[in-house]
Amino acid sequence: MPDERLIVVGGGLAGLMTTIKIAELGVPADLFSVVPVKRSHSVCAQGGINAAVNWKGEGDTPQEHFDDTIYGGDFLANQPPVQAMCEAGPGIVFLLDRMGVMFNRTQEGLLDFRRFGGTKHHRTAFAGATTGQQLLYALDEQVRRFEAAGLVRKFETWEFLSIVKDGQGHCRGITALNQRSMEIHAFPAGAVMLATGGPGMVFGKSTNSMVNTGTAAGAAYQQGAYYANGEFIQVHPTAIPGEDKLRLISESVRGEGGRVWTYRNGKPWYFLEDMYPAYGNLVPRDIATRAIFKVVFEMGLGVNGEPMVFLDVTHIDAKLLDRKLGGVLEIYEKFMGADPRKVPMKIFPGMHYSMGGLWVDYDHMTNIPGLFAAGEVDYQYHGANRLGANSLLSCLYSGQLAGPTMVHYARGHTADGATAAALEHERQRQEDAFAKLRKMDGKENVYVLAKELGEWMTANVTVIRDNDKLRATDNKLRELKERWSNVGLHDRTAWANQELSFIKQMWNMLELARVIALGALRRDESRGAHYKPAFPERNDAKWLKTTKAQWSSDGPELSYEDVDTSLIKPRPRKYDVDKTAA
């Protein structure tokens, strides 16, 4: 019996790696993406990818990488998968090297490594300051090779709408919308991978790309997939605010010696170095972000009284900056019109990453048999706070693991005669839903609703969380859902209708927003990126648990699952002093 095709949704690092792994086993794959895959959000990753190769002779080991990651994530991640990822790190970086990634080199022609937050080791391989772009291109090229060989079919500018479940509740394919013709088709598959990235657009302005709406995860959640640890949202300490988005200034800037400061009593105050002498500017992101909030809002020490502090590289040799950080300094220069080699950059924290995502088992399968998730859209590796340069690694590791497990699953679960009917039934359900959307003629503008959503989520569900404000936010979300029903569609054409697509996406964003806000409301402790001044301590007795949200028509039903801490015993997390041994 020939293998059924497998489907991968999402053409970022996780999706491309999954596709390569499937195709390498000789199994044909269909790759769906809302953008040409080379334009996926992975391009935005700047600083690098972690692999404990110990090429600087500092005694680094994958075990130490594992401990840094668990400690950095405040012990919320299940430990066995994280250990396996850290052990796989060197092999993954070597593979990328063989694919031709133009990593920076040492004088001996070896891969160079730099420092990143939350570790004392030079562990991060990098290609200038556009590492994500370089990695994505390398994988894009390998997928193009399989495409040219006929094993991979690309469906670019197709938008995932829903999964197709058979009578037993197994995933048997997807429905998708052609973003040009606006036609809806159902596609069968032996197994489906969602590698659709994070939900940054739920926060309006973030460091994420415009395509990171979280709509696919939101749709799968409404079809019964659990969404885990949604409340854990990373706010990156160093971004530059803009009218359209917040632009990331990579942590690698600090890894190469950049210093964060503001004026106090008329003199520069390097507050991270002062508050956290052991790690200084390289504390993890949640710590640095809260320190900036404290300095700006509690102490009133923002630059010129505005919400911003300095990130300074002016003391570093300009040639070294160009070689190691060129791409990111160029972004600052182009958008802010000032040369960071000469004047300190002005930065402020911005929403950046979701540690939470679709719940998956150690094989990356969701609770829906046949539906897998990998990359930022899963919840597996980063606990309550992700360390810098671990996201590229987790994307590639999860894709590398999941491709073969999908093939294995599909071989054991071949489709039966009822599949065709299930596909057609789901296609019709989506057709009907879109027919309704096309008739929407209310007074609300969907893009205005999206802006309000982002403003509320950013104000109340990011760095500092307060239960009253979280409750008010959930009320607002319910109000937005009601107003969504009163949206008017301005564009009634049947061709390349972005507004129609976005109305659908907006509903899924609102569903996910409730998961994030209510997860935060319920969790009365502070852990990693989740910080409640009313509950300032981590509470392992009560909250060393994974949040699992299950969709219901009355809103998310939250349940809690024990975290596997079998390898490293939880201990207090501090960065003012050196990390104690595991």
């Binding site: 090297d97 070896l110 370089q134 803009g242 019109g337």
Partner: protein
């Protein structure tokens, strides 16, 4: 105090077959606007300058940091990414048009698949044995890496071919972007093993011989990729290969 505003003229087209038409929009002035954030303002209130309700403008955008290549369009007649087109530095009304070298899908959105197909033609990849762990790759001198990295930042945005007089719908010219990628992969120690295949592709129809040496490509490249150096390099490599092919035939 005067109320300032931002004026926009957008060339629109409803479908690939549709006839283009122009709409003017006006939004209140704010500092720090770029072309993208102005288009976002417009879609929150899709109405032309004379108050007629219309459809939101369709355009492509994703990263908004000039690394994904999506939002390329003509801004005041110059091809560039809309995200880095800062309103304070632009003359008004700001005129937006779709690129002219690709089929228009709708409004400012075009179909650049020809560029991705070109990457197949030059076999722009390293044919690795497999993804299993075979140890580190070959050593690369820092100088080689620096040149390779400059080439590898190409985001297939289309600026170089938009500006190229030789690239259009009645020529098969592959364009500077793909030529740059051929140089990149020929430069890599493993990629060099398949140098011949890439050069064969560039010695054929629509290859390097079609370059008219206008040198517009290198001037419009937002990533300052040394495209004319790359074209010169491929010229050199193909000449050597042609000679060798003659000798060894």
């Amino acid at each position: 105090m005067e109320t300032r505003s931002i004026r926009l003229r957008v060339k629109r087209q409803d479908s690939p077959q549709g006839t283009p038409y122009w709409h003017e929009f006006e939004v209140p002035y704010k500092p720090q606007h770029n072309v993208i954030s102005v288009l976002m303002e417009v879609r929150r209130n899709p109405m032309t300058r004379d108050g007629t309700p219309t459809t939101p403008v369709v355009w492509e955008a994703s990263c908004l940091e000039e690394v994904c290549g999506s939002c390329t369009m003509l801004v005041n007649g110059h091809v560039r990414q809309a995200c880095t087109a800062l309103v304070d530095k632009l003359e008004q009304p700001i005129v937006l048009e779709p690129m002219t070298k690709f089929p228009v899908i709708r409004d400012l959105m075009v179909d650049r698949s020809r560029m991705f197909e070109a990457l197949k033609r030059v076999r722009a990849w390293i044919p690795i044995d497999g993804t299993y762990n075979l140890g580190p790759g070959p050593r690369v001198a820092p100088e080689t890496q620096e040149f390779g990295y400059a080439l590898s930042r190409c985001m297939t945005c289309g600026c170089c071919v938009e500006a190229c007089p030789q690239y259009n719908d009645h020529s098969n010219f592959i364009g500077a972007a793909a030529i740059g990628q051929a140089v990149l992969f020929n430069l890599h120690p493993t990629g060099a093993m398949n140098k011949g295949e890439r050069l064969d592709a560039l010695m054929g129809d629509g290859g390097i011989a079609d370059c008219g040496n206008a040198q517009n490509c290198v001037q419009v490249c937002p990533k300052e990729i040394p495209l004319t150096t790359a074209i010169g390099e491929i010229g050199r490599q193909t000449t050597i290969k042609a000679l060798k092919d003659l000798l060894w035939r």
